[in-house]
């Protein structure tokens, strides 16, 4: 029973953490589906289980009940077809940037030879604007540059799925916008399915094809927004009427998730009819 039209699929996923005060439910009957080569952003109130979601999709953790499917296969353990990047770029200080980027190649069996991988690493460095930094140490790079290097590492082994857990969260506004554009560049170069966890609504609208709003804990998919901004997107699009109305919708949904508004009093705009709420 595979459904190959979706790259990532979560079916009825429920998960709780064990704590001293008893089980802490984080996900409650979460359903989600991300088509191949599309970009899905997940937003929601803090502590709603967004990072749990990344750990489930990457296979680092298994849900209590429900199923996670990746490329038509049920996820039971980590798999090398996944790339990950976190808010903390976690570069290994004792390695050069190039060696850091090549790290996954030491774990994953890949048809690429070492020379090919190195060539690819240099190419990715060029793409993210780190030309000439291959032999530098992480300590010589700024926060934004480290995050760029971390992005290169996460896709060096050509993963089918890239999981990003707030990778731009700790960066300043300008660097963040720069990196958004870099993300678009990377995906133009080689398409991959992307799951982005973020707190930034503008980021979700600028980058994603669909934005999933998670409810408060225990979380389910409260609302899915299809972002229909035509590509190639520019930062200016974020200030156009369409984006503004989508952002208003998302902001309202977040307030609903936080319990500060109800579904009824949605902002009046022409966008609501193009979105669908999940049952």
């Amino acid at each position: 029973m595979t459904n190959s039209s979706y790259m990532i699929e979560l079916r009825d996923v429920t998960h709780a953490y064990k704590t001293k005060a008893g089980p802490l439910p984080v996900l409650d009957r979460l359903d989600m589906a991300v088509p191949e080569n599309s970009f899905c952003a997940v937003v929601g109130p803090s502590g709603c289980g967004k990072s749990t979601l990344t750990r489930l999709v990457s296979g680092l953790m298994r849900p209590n009940t429900g199923e996670v499917w990746l490329h038509g296969k049920k996820v039971t353990s980590p798999r090398p077809t996944v790339g990950m990047a976190f808010q903390n770029p976690v570069l290994l200080e004792w390695r050069t940037i190039l060696q850091n980027i090549l790290l996954p190649m030491e774990i994953v069996k890949s048809p690429m030879s070492k020379a090919q991988a190195t060539e690819r690493a240099h190419h990715l460095l060029d793409l993210v604007g780190l030309t000439g930094f291959a032999e530098k140490r992480p300590s010589e790079l700024s926060g934004g540059m480290r995050q760029r290097a971390s992005l290169c590492r996460s896709i060096i082994h050509k993963p089918d799925v890239l999981i990003l857990d707030e990778p731009f969260g700790a960066l300043d506004a300008f660097t963040r916008e720069d990196l958004w554009c870099t993300m678009h560049d990377l995906r133009r170069e080689e398409p991959f399915t992307c799951l982005l966890i973020t707190h930034d609504l503008r980021e979700s609208v600028f980058l994603a094809d669909q934005v999933v709003v998670m409810s408060g804990r225990p979380a389910h998919a409260q609302f899915v927004l299809d972002v229909d901004l035509p590509g190639p997107r520019t930062l200016d699009d974020l200030y156009g009427p369409r984006a503004v109305s989508m952002l208003a919708t998302l902001r309202h949904q977040i307030q609903v998730a936080q319990g500060r508004a109800t579904e009824g009093d949605a902002p009046a705009d022409d966008h609501t009819e193009r979105t669908r709420a999940q049952a």
Binding site: R55, S58, G59, M84, V90
Partner: protein
């Protein structure tokens, strides 16, 4: 000032300065050498007993290094167990702390009785016991404080725990390990000399110190202290040298 020049010149200047003040103080107060020997009293002792100094230094040095090496192997092992298993950490920690709190001078006679006549073994054992603690603790702390993202970055690709240990946990712990090793070096010397002095068996610089005491040759006792200091410095900087090679990345370049 030139960097290498300063690195040699600064300590030399300070050593010469301290020796000069010392020499002057002894001369000024007209202290007899059984109360305070002066640096100039030491030189004749080194000249007279140079062969003894070389032999005894070697005995002290190799036994210290042997004890320290054991401490590195077993300290790292225990540190690894404590770093990876919370159960083992919580179980072993109080025992380690309690063991470390025992003054080692009291352990020496016990060890000397336990293994009568095994002088080299006893000495190495004390050096090992005394220098084991900081290494085990630092390795365990280094491993247990490894940020989960570091683990996840490899685990999400399907890497085994062994791979994660070799590629990330071990190198990341090296700076802490070398920090502890620098402390352990001097501790190991203390251990060796405790055994040599508290349980005399005719070996090591401790023995030379003891014969100075018995023969009322006070300048000789001072001369031994200086030889010990020199050995300590030697071994310490050897560790620094190793640290530069294996954990040089942790050193921030100035500026």
């Amino acid at each position: 000032m030139n960097d290498t020049l300063r690195k040699i010149l600064a300590p030399t200047l300070f050593i010469v300065g301290i020796l000069a003040v010392w020499e002057w103080a002894v001369w000024y107060h007209q202290l007899p050498d059984y109360r305070m020997a002066s640096p100039s009293d030491l030189i004749p002792r080194y000249i007279r007993f140079w062969d003894l100094f070389l032999i005894k230094s070697w005995e002290t040095l190799w036994r210290t290094v042997a004890g320290l090496s054991l401490a590195v192997v077993f300290g790292t092992l225990v540190g690894m167990i404590m770093g990876f298993s919370r159960f083992a950490r919580e179980g072993l920690y109080p025992i380690l702390v309690g063991f470390n709190a025992i003054p080692k001078a009291t352990v020496v006679p016990i060890v000397a009785l336990m293994f009568v006549g095994q002088h080299d073994f006893n000495t190495i054992l004390i050096a090992f016991i005394i220098s084991f603690f900081p290494i085990a603790v630092s390795v365990s702390i280094g491993l247990s404080t490894l940020e989960p993202e570091y683990r996840d970055i490899l685990r999400s690709l399907g890497a085994s725990n062994v791979t994660i240990f070799w590629k990330i946990a071990l190198p990341k712990t090296l700076p802490e390990f070398f920090g502890a090793l620098k402390v352990a070096v001097t501790l190991a010397f203390i251990g060796t000399n405790l055994m040599e002095i508290v349980s005399p068996h005719g070996r090591g610089l401790g023995d030379l110190f003891d014969s100075g005491r018995i023969n009322a040759d006070y300048p000789l006792m001072f001369a031994v202290l200086f030889a010990l200091a020199a050995l300590g410095i030697l071994l310490f900087y050897f560790v620094v040298f190793l640290e530069r090679i294996f954990a040089g990345w942790a050193e921030r370049s100035p500026g």
